[in-house]
């Protein structure tokens, strides 16, 4: 009897944890296709809420802002993050430890601290809040994640290849483009996808550095949820969930490549 509970307990416990994580999300998605406005009983299938969403100017504007910010953030943090990872892997330099610690700060401090720190900074430097302040804030917390992702990729990379290329007369730049980059590319792509998602999903930091005309989708959802539950929010949430899910799966694929 005892050994039987011992055998059954682990799978049951794990199942319950997965149910806890996924049932609320599934219900949210299901009700985004429900005819009734009330989000409680199933009355029939519809795509109306998605249609309504497409006609909601505020949502569309927030979508455009979000995509712009996410793309710019991805480019900035991927370029800077990849260069950093390569530099830190290849060279010894003064202040390496300082840099290493500096890069951990955005990952461990509460997001709200970064949000208000940048709010004060933009205020004192007279930079008006808008898309650029969002891009700066997002890049600041994305760069460290790119560095880590690319660095872990570099760990398995044979330095001798680079040396061989240079011995054969290739310059540092050529070596980077033809030898280093192709080797670490999966890590770079995984880092880029992660940056894109982090930027797309950010609530707290954005809350402080977004201007009145630069609302992003998560901020839009936040203000909509304050007014109550509606199937339109379900539809918007579903779209965001699916986007993040796709990006996450893609990134996992590149990471294990």
């Amino acid at each position: 009897m005892k050994s039987r509970t011992r055998k059954i307990f682990p799978p049951v416990f794990m199942f319950l944890v997965y149910a806890f994580i996924y049932i609320p999300i599934l219900i949210l998605i299901i009700f985004s296709f429900n005819e009734s406005r009330l989000n409680v009983v199933w009355t029939g299938f519809t795509l109306d809420w998605y249609g309504k969403l497409m006609k909601n100017h505020e949502v569309i504007r927030a979508l455009i802002n979000t995509v712009k910010v996410a793309f710019a953030t991805t480019i900035i943090s991927t370029v800077i993050g990849t260069l950093t990872a390569v530099g830190m892997y290849r060279y010894k330099f003064k202040g390496k430890v300082v840099l290493d610690n500096l890069l951990y700060i955005p990952m461990v401090i509460p997001e709200i601290v970064l949000g208000i720190a940048l709010l004060i900074f933009f205020n004192k430097t007279n930079i008006p809040l808008g898309l650029w302040t969002l891009i700066i804030a997002h890049s600041t917390f994305c760069i460290p994640f790119v560095v880590i992702t690319v660095k872990s990729r570099m760990a398995g990379f044979d330095k001798a290849q680079e040396e061989a290329a240079m011995d054969l007369g290739a310059g540092q730049f050529k070596t980077f483009i033809y030898i280093t980059l192709p080797n670490i590319l999966p890590g770079v792509i995984a880092g880029a996808l992660l940056s894109f998602t982090l930027s797309l999903d950010d609530v707290i930091t954005s809350f402080f550095v977004a201007g009145p005309r630069s609302t992003t989708l998560p901020l839009q959802i936040f203000s909509m949820v304050k007014f109550g539950v509606s199937p339109e929010i379900n539809a918007l949430s579903t779209l965001m969930l699916l986007t993040s899910l796709t990006l996450a799966l893609l990134s996992e694929k590149f990471k294990t490549k």
Binding site: L28, Y104, V113, A117, I143, D201, I204, P218
Partner: protein
């Protein structure tokens, strides 16, 4: 003789090139992080010692008033609530995540990757959306109440939202993956030989766990606790949406100082306290784990 000079010359150009490469690769990140991280954080420190102007501006006269004000019972209550929620969330996450990770490690390779992926996915999805999902379930006219009413299990809706419990639920739901990932990676690294040795020497399951498994997974436990405890102090939208604004945590207080009360110096003082709590936690982690921050297992 010529050869030596030539070699020296070459060495010099190499050095120069290396310096150039370091400048190109490391220069941008240094500039970026100094400008947009170090300077803003230092601004928080400076402003926390300044005074609030009449209309919400900052008056640059040094004072420790903002820190003295923290002793006010009203703020103490907020700290108390924050700590209860943060500690409670951390412990509950640990109690769920530890056995979960322990079981997950033992699942056969075939299923483990997909099961692991299912834990990573929430990590990638918007926390606000996931909190909203619970609001759909919990509100008075929500899914759970309607089902219970329909099966005549209850006569009137249970008030589940806007309570301490709802805040806890929101926090645990949002932060659980952050506890699982480092725990999983530290349990996975356990040397099976050690466990077998304990078993061979006659230790009971509990003894093995208590004297071998638990001490060896302390880094994972602390990393997970760090990743749950710290953010839970700042997630203002969870008490806002699931607590109905009745219970305030430090995050809400900071948000109010910056957006409604417009008392930036006091808000900065609060933020500095969050920074110090974080630093303290990281120091404990580094002291116990011995400096390997990459071990946190998040990525």
């Amino acid at each position: 003789m010529d050869n030596v000079v030539e070699q020296k010359k070459m060495k010099n150009t190499m050095k120069k090139r290396t310096r150039q490469s370091i400048f190109i690769t490391i220069g941008p990140v240094y500039t970026w992080m100094t400008l947009f991280l170090t300077v803003p954080l230092l601004l928080i420190v400076v402003i926390s010692f300044m005074q609030r102007g009449l209309y919400g501006g900052i008056v640059y006269e040094p004072t420790i008033k903002n820190y003295v004000a923290l002793i006010d019972p009203m703020y103490m209550k907020v700290f108390g609530t924050s700590l209860i929620i943060a500690i409670g969330t951390t412990i509950l996450c640990l109690l769920i995540a530890y056995p979960f990770s322990y079981f997950l490690v033992k699942v056969s390779n075939k299923y483990r990757n997909i099961l692991m992926l299912l834990i990573i996915i929430p990590f990638w999805t918007n926390s606000l959306v996931r909190v909203y999902a619970w609001i759909v379930l919990l509100r008075s006219e929500g899914v759970i109440n309607t089902i219970l009413l329909n099966v005549k299990f209850i006569d009137e809706p249970i008030k589940m939202l806007y309570s301490y419990g709802a805040i806890f639920l929101g926090m645990i739901y949002t932060l659980l993956p952050f506890m699982i990932l480092p725990l999983y990676s530290s349990i996975e690294k356990l040397d099976v030989a050690l466990l077998e040795a304990a078993d061979d020497l006659g230790a009971s399951t509990w003894q093995t766990f208590r004297h071998v498994t638990l001490p060896l997974t302390i880094p994972g436990i602390i990393a997970g606790s760090l990743l749950v405890f710290i953010p839970s102090l700042g997630y203002f939208f969870i008490p806002d949406l699931m607590g109905g604004g009745k219970h305030m945590i430090i995050g809400n207080l900071i948000k109010n100082q910056f957006l409604t009360a417009r008392n930036w110096p006091f808000g900065s003082a609060l933020a500095l306290i969050l920074i110090l709590i974080t630093l303290g936690f990281v120091m404990i982690y580094l002291k116990l784990v011995g400096g390997d921050k990459d071990d946190m297992g998040v990525m």
